[in-house]
């Protein structure tokens, strides 16, 4: 536990990539493999068990310190991190002498978290209280996060892969591949990660190749940056969930870009993919489509509908029939067990066209789709950038986010390497909205009111339509924090209701009906573009303006 705590604080103390990797390398080199496997689960964002609730933890800290519950809450509101708050409040009785055995991460988690998961409340409290006495304050913060299943560490999987690659003496890409689909489950799993070569017939997907955003809206600029249009393959940028279908051996696995196995959420796609020959890997997009009435074009349901499917471990029949899903393939990464990624895109595409006969055409476009759950993505044909720009202008009407541009000669790369894949999204929608509520942030923004609820005019009243967290500079957040404090008219727990004085320019990707906001609508991916100091609340947009964008 001490070694992992040291790692946690070393990672916390730096924003420099190299120092983070160095900290990880030091940890993995010295760590017991069982501890390392446990740490991997945490570092790679694996599902964590919540052995005790934060409510229980707060109550027991209040009891252990003799402080009233309201004062614990005041402290939390100030500190902005519950695990830290509680660790700071507990008395510092020094942990037992250094000679006493100090259990490692794996044993600590087994004894105080996994075994507690199903224990009764009295037993939980007993173990928690005893563990407090055993741990130093800086260990308690980390352990509090573990025991409530909420430990997040500021390292990407890429960094973990880099560090492990260094420890194992293999290429980072090899390690990235080994880490796909979750970290090692146990000691043996971790040891296997460090092996020099693997020849296992595994089910893991390839690291996803990601596109970079093309910020230029003007066609001339795009043409200048990318050269001849003929060198590029264009596809619609579908509003779904990126995924890979891996058909190897006797089965099918579907992996999200978050490297989660999502088979359970998309049974119809799994069934359709079973017909693929073994040794096939497809890269594509999962899309929610409406129920199909024989022969009519499919109806795109959008990302919100897809979320009702993707988050599930088991999909009820009702949802399955209301929100059917399909897979639209962009690329063929493996065929006959051969890695096709080094081939030029044009060649891979030709093989894909032969493999997947059905071409996806949705709603407003093209002939009725063949009834299947497995399609290839249609190409957007155009002879020039101007033609492509004209097609891109159809995006909103088609329910897509814009165009994807891929260099026909490009291999399938790793990560987000700029140059070969671009997303040419349509410009976001924008409104001017008024700041109505503010809430203190967490982490780096602890104690600063940095989370805002924004509203627009509905007649003579302001109604909320969005919550936005990002887009302002740190200095602006500090300034707004002052204004929020000065204009607070009411407090509901951590939320402050303010006199409307601030106008924010808000960008978003779409408007959807919502039961969460009083206005009845919510915007998608809202983010603050800028603080409109030049505008008064009266100048903000109206609900009607927003509804016109539905």
């Amino acid at each position: 536990m001490k070694a992992f705590t040291d790692l946690y604080w070393r990672l916390d103390a730096t924003t420099k990539t190299q120092e983070k990797v160095a900290a990880l390398v030091d940890y993995f080199q010295a760590a017991d493999h069982a501890d390392a496997a446990c740490a991997m689960g945490v570092l790679c964002g694996g599902r964590q068990l919540r052995a005790v609730s934060t409510t229980q933890l707060r109550e027991w800290v209040a009891a252990a310190t003799g402080l009233p519950a309201w004062l614990v809450e005041e402290c939390y509101a100030h500190v902005g991190d519950l695990a830290e708050t509680l660790a700071l409040l507990l008395p510092d009785d020094q942990p037992a002498s250094d000679a006493a055995p100090r259990p490692g991460l794996a044993m600590t988690m087994a004894d105080t978290i996994h075994s507690l998961h199903t224990a009764d409340e009295a037993r939980k409290r007993e173990v928690v209280t005893a563990t407090w006495r055993r741990l130093a304050p800086r260990e308690r913060i980390v352990w509090h996060k573990l025991v409530t299943g909420g430990l997040r560490v500021g390292v990407s999987r890429t960094l973990v892969a880099r560090a492990l690659a260094e420890v194992a003496g293999v290429e980072p890409a090899v390690m990235a591949h080994r880490l796909m689909g979750g970290g090692p489950a146990d000691t043996a799993g971790f040891a296997a990660l460090l092996e020099p070569v693997t020849a296992t017939d595994d089910r893991r997907p390839y690291p996803f190749f990601l596109a970079s955003a093309l910020d230029r809206g003007d066609t001339a600029g795009v043409a200048a940056d990318l050269g001849a249009a003929a060198a590029w393959q264009a596809e619609w940028k579908w509003d779904g969930m990126r995924a890979q279908i891996v058909r190897r051996g006797d089965d099918v696995t579907i992996w999200s870009r978050g490297e989660e196995l999502v088979n359970e959420a998309f049974p119809e796609v799994v069934a359709a993919a079973t017909a693929l020959p073994a040794g096939t890997v497809l890269d594509g997009e999962l899309l929610a489509v409406g129920p199909r009435a024989g022969g009519s074009p499919v109806q795109l349901l959008g990302f919100a509908a897809l979320s009702k499917r993707s988050g599930r471990r088991r999909v009820p029949k009702k949802i399955l029939s209301e929100i059917p899903c399909v897979f639209v393939a962009y690329d063929l990464l493996e065929q006959g067990g051969h890695d096709l990624r080094p081939l030029p895109l044009a060649d891979r595409r030709r093989l894909l066209d032969e493999l997947i006969p059905a071409c996806f055409a949705a709603a407003t476009a093209g002939p009725p789709a063949i009834e299947t759950c497995l399609y290839r993505s249609p190409l957007v044909e155009a002879d020039s950038w101007d033609q492509l720009a004209a097609r891109r202008a159809e995006s909103r009407e088609r329910g897509v986010e814009g165009l994807m541009l891929k260099r026909r000669s490009s291999p399938y790369g790793t990560g987000r390497t700029r140059g070969d894949w671009w997303k040419w999204k349509i410009e976001p929608l924008e409104i001017d909205a008024v700041l109505l509520y503010a809430q203190a942030g967490h982490g780096r923004r602890a104690g600063l009111h940095s989370d805002y609820t924004l509203g627009v005019w509905d007649g003579d009243r302001l109604v909320t339509v969005a919550k936005a967290y990002s887009g302002l500079t740190d200095a602006e957040i500090v300034e707004i924090d002052r204004i929020v404090r000065a204009t607070t008219v009411e407090r509901h727990g951590p939320v402050r209701i303010c006199t409307p004085t601030l106008v924010m320019q808000l960008a978003f990707e779409g408007v959807a009906a919502s039961t969460r906001h009083k206005s009845g609508v919510a915007v998608r991916f809202p983010r603050i573009v800028r603080w409109r100091r030049d505008k008064q609340p009266a100048d903000a947009d109206t609900l009607d303006d927003l509804k016109r964008m539905l």
Partner: protein, 361 residues
Amino acid sequence: MSARSLELLEVTASGLYCAAGGFFVDPWRRVERAVITHAHADHARSGCGRYLCAAPGKHVLRTRMGSNATIDTLRYGETTSINGVTVSLHPAGHVLGSAQVRIEHCGQTWVVTGDYKLGPDPTCAPFEPVPCDVLVTESTFGLPVYRWPDPATVAGEINAWWRTNRDAGRTSVILAYALGKAQRIAALVDPEIGPIVAHGAVMKLCEAYRASGVRLPPIDRVPPRARKVGGGRALVIAPPSVLDGPWLKMFGATATAVASGWMTIRGVRRRRGVEQGFVLSDHADFPGLLAAIEASRAGRVLVTHGFADVLARFLRERGLDAEPLATRFTGEAPPDAASDEHGEPDEPDKHDEPDAKDGAA
């Protein structure tokens, strides 16, 4: 409660006022007569007719109020009468010359603590509890998450950090208030590790401390228009405002740290992006506040700047007659608030509203 019938002090537009004696304690506007607890900018403002402060704080107050200010002094514990009201000053342990103001009139005793701490500090006289009927206390760190480590331990941490930096050829820059914290750090660290260098704003006050008889290790002034200073071995003590300017460039590679009670909180450390935070405060921590309040034996407690509402409620639940008192004192500002509003590079200790606190403003 009979104490209510006599309000020795009241909050007016100009500050905390004693009507019977016709004087103010730490007024925030220009007044004729000001009794000053200590020389920090939110407690001592220039332009008053007469100042009264504790004798050890005279030089420090002079550097802040200017050479024309009329400053009277009292030794700690010595009494004087202002218009028939008995006034004495008692050590508050906050910075050199800091005092609690004891006011006695018609059988009632009030004490205004000003800012104070109970922990040891080689640069000023230790806090002394003063029995009273009504205590006006600060509450800058009035939340139980604030419990200070032993300053000797913190000094050890600073020394270790300095040594590591020195061995790596990096200059150690420690950001601290020019008045009080800077001198305390200079007195706490091990001067054998390397040269100690101070920013001009800090230097001015170091000289005032020395003139007052406080022993400080040798501290070098940064020569004007210096190009390269310290050769990566020095400990530089500077106000937080230097982060915003080019001043630090003359030290080459640096490691920066902030010494403040707010460094207890990880979010505050991370927000400013300083690599290292040392928990070192000249204010009382939560147990310190409770201990001081108890030692005063006051039946009534008025809580000012900081977590006034929270501390007052907590005291009420423990059976004390306590309420918040709205003043304009602001206490120790977290490092990210220090240079936001009052862009005075030489006066970074002009205490700002900590951005993460409620209560009296």
